[in-house]
């Protein structure tokens, strides 16, 4: 088992996938490295890929309508962000920047992800279920934060 599929097994977004399916997902990913304070995505810009944190941490910064920016959330290893782009292809809802040296991210592009889900509908069902559960977890987390 590759290091990447080992990582995918530790990510709740991919729970329930077989080894072969994890390897299919792994084949879609691209690796990116970031330095502290380096911006990964910008709020209100188009999004076409999802990010998975392999190591390090990132901070999610939200700018309100008055232009005030606030760090709302820290995400660590095994967390994903930008996943809404896989579902709605909408604009990014926040800016995300690295906080650690050598923050390692894996990205999955929306077109290749959608094609995989269509080719393997069992995998597609599980991924959509897991995406919904992941977003549900984030909403519950947000409820605790108020």
């Amino acid at each position: 088992m590759s290091e990447l599929t080992q990582l995918l097994k530790r990510v709740s977004l991919f729970r329930g996938l077989s080894q072969a399916q994890l390897e299919q997902v792994a084949a879609l990913t691209h690796m990116e490295h970031y330095h502290p304070r380096e911006i990964i995505i910008n709020q209100n810009t188009p999004g076409d890929k999802m990010y998975l944190i392999g190591s390090g941490q990132v901070e999610v910064v939200i700018q309100d309508q008055r232009g005030q920016a606030q760090v709302a959330l820290i995400l660590g290893e095994g967390q994903v962000f930008g996943e809404m782009a896989l579902l709605d292809q909408g604009e990014r809802s926040a800016t995300v920047r690295a906080t650690h040296e050598n923050t390692l991210l894996y990205t999955i592009q929306e077109p290749s992800f959608t094609a995989l889900c269509k080719d393997d509908t069992t995998l597609g069902y599980m991924m959509m279920r897991n995406l919904a559960l992941d977003l549900s977890f984030k909403i519950r987390h947000q409820n605790f934060d108020y």
Partner: protein, 67 residues
């Protein structure tokens, strides 16, 4: 088991961002955790959702240690 943990900061002189991460060890009250540049102590841990596959979903409350 993988623990997906939601961390929320309670207390402190300023508003701290919350955190989410996956970890191999279950968080324990009294342990320290670093979120971004800040260090926190875990003060409460509770289950957020029932376990699913090899994942357990927890909520932890933390307080800032360095102010």
């Amino acid at each position: 088991m993988i623990y997906t943990v939601s961390y929320v900061v309670v207390g402190g002189k300023k508003k701290y961002p919350s955190g989410m991460m996956n970890q191999h060890e279950r968080p324990v009250v009294g342990e320290h955790v670093r979120l971004g540049d800040s260090l926190f102590e875990i003060t409460e841990v509770k289950r957020m959702l029932p376990p699913s596959d090899d994942f357990e979903f927890l909520h932890a409350t933390v307080r800032p240690l360095e102010e």
